[in-house]
Symmetry: C2
Subunit: 670 residues, 2 copies
């Protein structure tokens, strides 16, 4: 014990790190000391939070037990009083809703902790914060630092869109995604359920829709209810996207009569923007939609309903004589007018079922009723325009997590764009928040966790935390801890990585990992251009195993920053050298493996490139060390290495290429 | 394609490795070429195997999809014929049984594969073999080598006992354990359901048993049925152990009237051999057992029922005046006679419910009816004696996987001991096989996978494969691949390791792993002597994260073998040096982490010891390199390092100590 106290003092003296909270709270005050978390930990619920809070406290204890390895609740430990007292003022409503009160105050002292919230939603958020505070201690096995956290979200709509259509995501995948969302305080699950490649929700009214449009991979209505309840318990709203009038090929397998061109249709297996679309001129289409959307409106209790509205390429509308005549008859100039007509009719149907309609940018036409919500994949400007027109809006541009951006790039995107200052307060309030979106062309249940986590936690922070919280290094430090913490929920974003490498390389997986650690999947839409991909294409290659962000490359970039800030000091040099020397050897050490394995052979060039870049980086480092500029001839012969192959079949690039470029430029005095 | 063929030829030329089958089959012939396994893979079922085989084929396809990342069955791929044809001659019985036909023939050619079996049980075993054959290919993404496998088990009873009493194991843990068992062709799940520390099965007849004896942690009868069905689908029999007359404290919480001494009783929280025991003199005890065992006999369809019978210390029997009088009255010499009387009475009850009674060694008394089965934790000799007396028997001695032995030690244990030659054929046939046993004093749901897998696969091989299959290096090579393969079942024995280290060390988990990789939990019963452990003690320390076997230490031992076989050749020297140099630095690099973390602080001495041993090993290597014997003074000052601390609180030891000892002895010419 004497030793323990000494240690604690020491730790305090050298400065304890910021707790790894993510999203960072609105306000946090550090106290002195810490609360020990041990086998006699006990939580107690007070106030009027009701069953929702009781169940949340139970789940919380199970998670604390998992995270610490303690046996909780212990049937034998006697606690005089609760370690954590949870007080909730009211039971709130049975389901989460837009604008619910998610605020809470969490007070941790060496003597105990209190979580206070007006509604259960705040309790849920605060319990996650408490779990994030718990880590191994220097004087007790686990501890939470003394703090007072007063917290509430900046935006009321913080969502994640999951595309269950292009690749079906099984129920347990959806559940664990919801667990992760709740952990980082996201509160809206936008469920993309229908698209050209699959109709994934049971319709009892039109059962051929899911029977013929899903390969048998769909959610029953019972399962949907299960998900709505599961999410609700975690303070997450669920609303469906039923994407029309385009993205409807899977509907037409059973209902070709709704299409603009005659059938027959088959489930679409290819990716891209497809021609089929509903026929807006047919009254039976609206009758059908009234029936089907009415069924869905009853199934999903949330008052918002997403109808897509995106990416109608107009080819079938132009090709249909009936529609050409219809447009002429109505005096429509173009397909935009036709879409506007459709959206207006649709809006009435959706409103008639008691829902507010949400759609992508494309629906934002002058004729769009004010109460429709615009989800913008175009950007903040479009969002601002929508707000001016009286529409509520959500930002998704900048939050497309399937595009393989680094977390800091998402993090830099704020729903309030530059133009926000020109908006009135009322207009600004219409910007509800944003949604991370995961389109699943290149994502399967096996890889989905690694595509969502941990990067989505950075987006969650952008939507929850004060606008001023934006230090990138600090964000990455906390993101790293958050990634490990999310692991305790059973998310597979970490464990799946070595497993996928083992599939490719067996006992040599650790060696292959040295390459995988320094490459990144191509960003944006490049992968689709590197080869032919369709729904049945196996997503089991190195580019699928590789993480969207290379930590090693980021570390190198940081060391290069330090070195180039003052090359005379040479700080960071040793770390750079160690990395580059290792990477220089990748080609030789991996060649027999890559050459002898069909599924890896495509990466031989990549490994060679990684080695060559590292070698040139070492040369550049040599010049910098000697303090002499590299000769022009050196630059001329090496510079071509900086260009990467266009459309590489591997779908991967060497993540430290930019750092090598910077070293080379510095060495050559450019 | 040309390249692919060239690669294949090359691979064939350099000799492809043995397929990583485990258990190794009775007979295997290698053919030439290989069968490509790609997106158009299709299996088809022929013959009369019925629904069991159909469902097995479906599970097989899902697992092949998971293991390869292929989309199977593909709704779009057109296969002219099935890649794997499964033929089964008969539907067999609805549930697996002792002596079922598990034989199969698996023929793989470049043109296709056929699995042929007389009964569904053989299909199940053969499908696992096929899955083990599939690995990345040099000319196709995945492939199975051409082989003809004719296979059948050596012993008909190949079991795993899981103790769900001392630490409760949730349903999904049990299911995934069954998945792993089926994968390595084990066929009996022995479910230890009641003990002093918990009564884990619902009794509808005496509901206070589970209600008061389990802290709410028990299996409902519906769940038991679910497990029996789940196991049955996988060719695994399930039989319960209801351990009496000792190990019954949890029974007496609700039913003190059955005990030898008056109550009240509480659920036992400590480990060890406890005093409470049923009172064999009371007729109501037999009436109660008749009722309860009758209920269990109906719940578990297998004809065997385990009644424990072990470790009655006799203290309560000696202390009870009633029992002292009873023994005198009956003319019993001692408690052995009393146990014999009890077992005889019990046997009648068990037989009356249509079951054969199984018990631990202790029940093997002259009065034991012939049809009772003895499970021997004492050894092969006891097993032989039982067989001579006419009892069927099972070996467990040597297969106690909670004792943290290395796989090779279990592997060396054969149910046929030295005395087997003295047995007649009929007697020998009574040795049915064996069971790996996992007592769960030091195992929780979090660690159970790593305590069972992969080592149990080596025991499974001992029980399935021909007696002559016993090359240890070959076993370890295949065990390593099997361990990775088992990962695809969702077993946590690999993924849980970094996660537990992250709990202890956060971002420094990889550093801590360098220590964890070279230590092993103490063997046998030593851990219990290193501190106080009870049911609520957290099992979240380095000794819980550490694997039972250190691969790194085994690798070092192999290098030392090579070096010492011919020190002049110096082969293996470099590998030894690299390892020892790294380990020498453990103490310094880890000290701040270990010192500053309460839960890790106990391992500071261990890290220091690891470093010191590595340093001395390097000194020894130096002498060997120079070819001069180390001076006596060197030996004298270094030798004490070879002694390890008795009862170390860490519960761990440095796994490479024996190798250091050998190097030192060689250096000193001892």
């Amino acid at each position: 014990m004497g030793l323990g106290v000494a240690m604690l003092t020491l730790a305090a003296a050298v400065g304890t790190p910021r707790p790894a909270l993510m999203p960072w709270p609105s306000s946090i005050e550090r106290g002195s000391g810490e609360l020990g978390v041990g086998p006699d930990f006990r939580s107690a619920v007070a106030g009027k939070g009701g069953a929702l809070v009781e169940r949340a406290a139970k789940r919380f204890e199970a998670r604390l037990a998992r995270q610490t390895g303690l046996v909780l609740p212990s049937p034998v430990a006697m606690a005089e009083k609760a370690t954590l007292e949870i007080r909730c003022d009211s039971p709130g409503k049975p389901l989460p809703y837009l604008g619910m009160d998610e605020g809470y105050t969490l007070t941790v002292t060496p003597a105990g902790a209190t979580l206070q919230a007006a509604e259960p939603w705040g309790v849920l958020r605060g319990l996650e914060t408490f779990l994030q505070l718990v880590s191994p201690g220097s004087s007790t096995p686990f501890r939470a630092p003394a703090v007072v956290v007063r917290d509430r979200p900046r935006f009321p709509w913080r969502g994640l869109m999951l595309d269950s259509s292009r690749h079906f995501m099984p129920l347990d995948t959806v559940k664990r995604t919801l667990d992760g969302m709740a952990a980082v305080k996201l509160n809206v699950f936008h469920w993309h359920l229908t698209d050209d490649q699959g109709f994934r929700v049971e319709s009892r009214r039109y059962p051929e829709l899911h029977r013929m449009g899903s390969d048998g991979l769909f959610y029953t209505q019972e399962q949907v209810k299960e998900i709505v309840a599961y999410a609700g318990e975690r303070g997450i709203r669920v609303y469906p996207e039923l994407d029309i009038p385009g993205h409807t090929t899977s509907w037409f397998v059973s209902h070709p009569e709704l299409a603009s061109m005659p059938g027959p249709y088959a489930i679409e297996r290819e990716w891209g923007i497809m021609d089929p679309a509903l026929d807006p001129s047919k009254e039976e289409v609206y009758r059908f939609l009234d029936g089907f959307l009415g069924e869905m409106a009853a199934l999903f209790p949330d008052p918002y309903l997403h109808i897509g509205g995106d990416e109608v390429n107009g080819k079938h509308w132009d090709a249909s004589e009936r529609l050409v005549a219809f447009k002429r008859e109505k005096g429509f100039k173009d397909n935009r007018d036709l879409l506007g007509y459709f959206s207006q009719r649709l809006s009435k149907i959706v409103t008639g079922h008691g829902k507010r309609m949400v759609g992508w940018d494309e629906i934002l036409l002058p004729s769009l009723p004010r109460d429709s919500v615009v989800q913008s994949w175009r950007g903040q400007e479009a969002l601002g325009s929508a707000a001016k027109l009286g529409h509520q809006g959500l930002l998704s541009n900048g939050y497309s997590i399937d595009l393989m951006w680094s977390a800091d790039r998402h993090y830099a995107t704020d729903p309030w764009g530059k133009g926000v200052d020109q908006l009135s307060e009322a207009e600004r309030a219409r910007i509800l928040g944003g949604e991370a979106t995961l389109w699943s062309e290149f994502t399967t249940p096996e890889t989905v966790d690694s595509r969502i986590w941990p990067r989505t936690a950075a987006i969650a922070e952008r939507l929850w935390s004060p606008r001023e919280v934006k230090d990138v290094d600090d964000m990455y430090a906390r993101l790293d801890a958050t990634s490990r913490w999310l692991d305790w929920l059973g998310l597979d974003h970490r464990a799946g990585y070595p497993r996928m490498l083992e599939r490719l390389a067996g006992e040599r997986a650790d060696d292959l990992r040295r390459l995988a650690d320094v490459v990144e999947p191509l960003e944006d839409y490049q992968r689709g251009e590197t080869g032919h991909y369709a729904q049945q294409t196996p997503l089991n290659r190195l580019m699928d195993a590789a993480r969207p962000e290379s930590d090693a490359a980021r570390d190198l970039a940081r060391h290069v920053d330090v070195l180039l800030a003052d090359p005379t000091r040479q700080a960071g040099r040793r770390a750079i050298r160690v990395d580059l020397e290792e990477w220089q050897g990748l080609d030789v050490s991996l060649r027999p493996l890559l050459e002898g394995t069909e599924i890896l052979r495509e990466t031989m060039g990549l490994a060679a490139e990684a080695s060559a870049l590292a070698a040139v980086g070492l040369e550049a480092l040599g010049f910098l060390e000697q303090g002499v500029p590299a000769p022009e001839s050196w630059w001329t012969t090496r510079a071509p290495l900086l260009e990467r192959e266009q459309k590489p079949r591997t779908g991967l690039e060497v993540a430290y290429r930019p750092s090598i470029k910077r070293l080379m430029e510095a060495a050559a005095g450019r």
